[in-house]
Subunit: 526 residues, 2 copies
């Protein structure tokens, strides 16, 4: 029997607060540090590893975290989720994104439809369509092949798919599987669409319109923008557009689209990269086989997340350490620092995933919670960040926990040997060095050159950023965020906080304003 | 006589802490809110405005902030800086980036050289070179014009120039002044350079190598990477490269470059966009006249920053409100939210500018401070962010102050009318709506749909993002960060926090490691 309780009502939470704190700098010094790097390492799906040696935890902390996991029933709640219970209580919806990549538990049937079969069916539709585009069976009116795919979507219909595309673009080029270049239009700022349209050959471009409801104002506006451009180029827009939407949306049966692919209300936008929201554009860009490999990595990570033993469940462990850092140690932010240029937009995706899921002040029953929930998430790729905001991370007055990601091999297969090492070796050397600099710091007689240390980090390490590794990485964070939401007892799957701005924006556009809102509207010449 | 004192030793700081707090939601409701929008608006350079109506301040707060500005001698310290005193005490350097765009005070002479004349001379050299490239006087070996300029640099040699380029790229296309497309290589990850090189015609590309010291490992590595590529394409690298460096660097007199342009130790990397670090690439991309317009906007903002009256000095006011939010109200982060796709990387630049300058724990005398200094800075363009992390900003458990930026007109001159309004109107309506939603919130019987409000923001508004407006915006934030550094009594112009990582990375590459550092190196196969 699952019971949904606030974090601060759990006995294990009180115990966790009283566990002896670890002196990280001390723990990571000498042979004990080496031992921690060996031992505090949990295998992940797709040959990734989650290494948390440089987190301020030890046997005592881990015991308390395991007790918290057990008492908070994290495993049972995850099972309830993937077995189809209505976990998104605010919107009265199931939460089924894991089913887009595999069957984890019981068959989930809704309105007489097996949902796994439904998602697989849509994925196969997308695969078949992509193959027709690649083979030239589906072409523009002149019979020319499409060379570019442009996703039109915002939020979850943009950040995840865009981050995934960028993550695999160079890998695909190197492995001769880049079928089409992808571009993305998201912002209602007309300069966004204008810039993309000026940079492509619209006559050879296929547009993927993504909106679950079919009513997202930004996306419909950008669709109209693109249709204008197609028309001005003398092209028939309906031969250049497909839709990704829900079966009940106004777009679903429209003749304006070459084809329509479906998701449903059980897939939240920020969790939709593995549904056809990501599937159509990624299958077109890389081929359906690559997308399937990506899904298999994600599914393997979902399976790993079932394990009730935190030392065998990296997503759960990562989540619990984050809760410890947030609620016991009181750190307000987390930085995500991939040492991989391919992951340049992965932090922006995680920013939505995490902050939109757990940036809540009420629990799943709508009652205010009396503890902090989701932290601010930000990040940029290393080594770039080292020459930017790392100064504050090393010597600022606040401690910011760090999530590193690194790979032994690069993607593009080009490298250069300078001063006795390759670029890739320099990249990896830097991430190793940073972890130790943050953890142990350095004494110096000049306080301006001293480093306090004690700044915790973990690292996810892989051989190479392949489609499987990317899928596993994505699902790891989705599951981490889910487990943290369970700990905080919030509903990680709604986003009521985005509504008020929409309502007020409509009032501004209808000139139905007064007071300060009218004054701002006047100032902006609306 | 200037005296450098810690913030918490100032009488005005104690008074500020005791000023009656403003109930923002109440203050912004009704006609009083409209009045605030009218009155709490300070003109900036280049026809921008700084509107702080939605900040939790009132007459009493402003009086206390003015007293703090006076007691902290912000105006006097700024004058000392632009008159050439050694403000960067840690590195014993003057701080002269403002001189790259205009003379603000006395002539600054160092080693017998008038520094303003020196910076103008280098800018003119860059302008003359750019004109030769544009006219075809400088070409590749085949006599073909260069079409692409590629900046190789990291940190301040990358983030600022890249953000500035992206900010004006569409404007320049629309105004027929895009002379060359620009690309940027920064990360030591070899996939970064590989991706850029695969996307351009190297035979028609001019590379700008930027390293003040001439020893930045990432940049030299990427230079070697590019030279390899040029060589493999049968090209003479020295006909495709220019250097931006200091006169004393090993690059300065090398025959490996077509030309060399100089900066000096008085220009910090993160403050170098208006020096030839930005000037060469931006003059090549947009033409020298556009770069001059950009400088004139920055200079006008620098002039405005001289005013001791905070109601006439937006940078100083912005700085002081930030200090109030950080040290009195206790907010740990600030989000930068430009409602302009052109400013997509402006937050990443500000992240470096702010966090590297003021993420310090010791004052300018090397003594630990007992108050918090620079906050975490993050941000993405609106409306994209609305569909991402705004959930946490609206309903999360922490309050994050917000810095909006918006323009009445777009850059590319393309737009579409949907549902009775243009994209640009929708964009502006959204920013107005967000400010009010954050400030006033909304009551609701369902606590999950309620918004507490009281979340402070300011907005910088302009007519259009022109070169002048961009220059003014850049200088505004540079000056804001400088004034905050004065308040916190830190040295905003050094970055000792980046050193330890470099030292340890070298040890890893030399295989001179033990303990945990060796274990991490092994794990990463270095």
């Amino acid at each position: 029997m699952i019971s949904w309780k606030n974090l601060d009502t759990l006995a294990a939470c009180g115990k966790l607060a009283n566990v002896k704190k670890v002196n990280l700098a001390e723990a990571m010094t000498g042979e004990n540090g080496a031992k921690r790097v060996e031992e505090y390492c949990v295998p992940m799906a797709a040959n990734l590893k989650y290494n948390f040696a440089a987190k301020a935890v030890d046997g005592g902390t881990l015991e308390a975290l395991q007790a918290l996991a057990d008492e908070a029933q994290l495993t049972e709640k995850y099972a309830a989720l993937y077995n189809g219970e209505v976990i998104n209580t605010g919107e009265k919806r199931r939460v089924l994104h894991q089913l887009t990549r595999g069957q984890l538990g019981e068959a989930v049937v809704a309105d007489g439809v097996d949902k796994r079969a439904f998602y697989v069916g849509e994925q196969q539709k997308a695969a078949a369509f992509a193959k027709k585009v690649h083979s030239g069976e589906v072409t523009n009116a002149k019979g020319e092949k499409f060379t570019t795919v442009v996703q039109i979507g915002i939020g979850g219909s943009d950040l995840g798919p865009r981050a995934m595309y960028l993550a695999l673009e160079q890998w695909a080029k190197q492995n001769d599987t880049l079928k089409m270049e992808a571009r993305f239009i998201s912002n209602v700022d007309p300069d966004d669409a204008a810039a993309v349209l000026k940079s492509i050959d619209v006559s050879r471009s296929l547009f993927v319109l993504v909106s679950k409801s079919g009513t997202t104002l930004e996306t419909l506006t950008n669709e109209a923008f693109v249709k204008d451009a197609l028309k001005n180029a003398g092209l028939d827009a309906s031969r250049h557009m497909v839709a990704v939407t829900s079966e009940t949306s106004p777009l679903a049966k429209s003749s304006d689209y070459l084809a329509a692919f479906f998701m449903d209300d059980f897939i939240g936008g920020r969790y939709s990269s593995t549904s056809c929201v990501g599937g159509v554009v990624l299958s077109l860009a890389f081929g359906p086989e690559v997308f399937e490999r990506f899904l298999s990595g994600a599914h393997a990570a979902d399976e790993t997340a079932k394990n009730p033993d935190i030392m065998k469940n990296p997503a759960m462990l990562d989540a619990l350490i984050g809760v410890y850092e947030r609620n016991v140690l009181g750190y307000p932010a987390t930085a995500v620092l991939p040492y991989s240029q391919a992951l340049s937009r992965f932090p922006a995706h995680l920013q939505q995933l995490d902050m939109e899921s757990n940036g809540k002040s009420v629990n799943r029953f709508g009652e205010p919670v009396s503890y902090v929930t989701g932290p601010v998430i930000f990040g940029e790729p290393g080594t770039n960040g080292q020459h930017s905001f790392y100064q504050l991370l090393h010597q600022g007055t606040d401690i910011v926990p760090l999530q590193f990601v690194g790979f032994k091999k690069n993607q593009a297969g080009m490298d250069v040997d300078i001063q006795g090492s390759t670029s890739q070796q320099k990249l990896c050397a830097n991430v190793a060095a940073q972890i130790m600099a943050f953890a142990c710091g350095k004494k110096d007689d000049n306080p301006n050159k001293a480093f306090a240390g004690g700044r915790p980090s973990s690292i996810i390490v892989g051989d190479q950023l392949t489609p499987e590794a990317l899928g596993a990485l994505l699902a790891h964070f989705e599951n981490k965020v889910m487990f943290q939401g369970f700990c905080w007892n919030v509903n990680s799957f709604d986003q009521e906080g985005v509504q008020l701005g929409k309502v007020l924006a409509k009032r501004v556009l209808a000139h139905d304003t007064d007071g300060a809102l009218k004054a701002y509207s006047d100032m902006l010449d609306i």
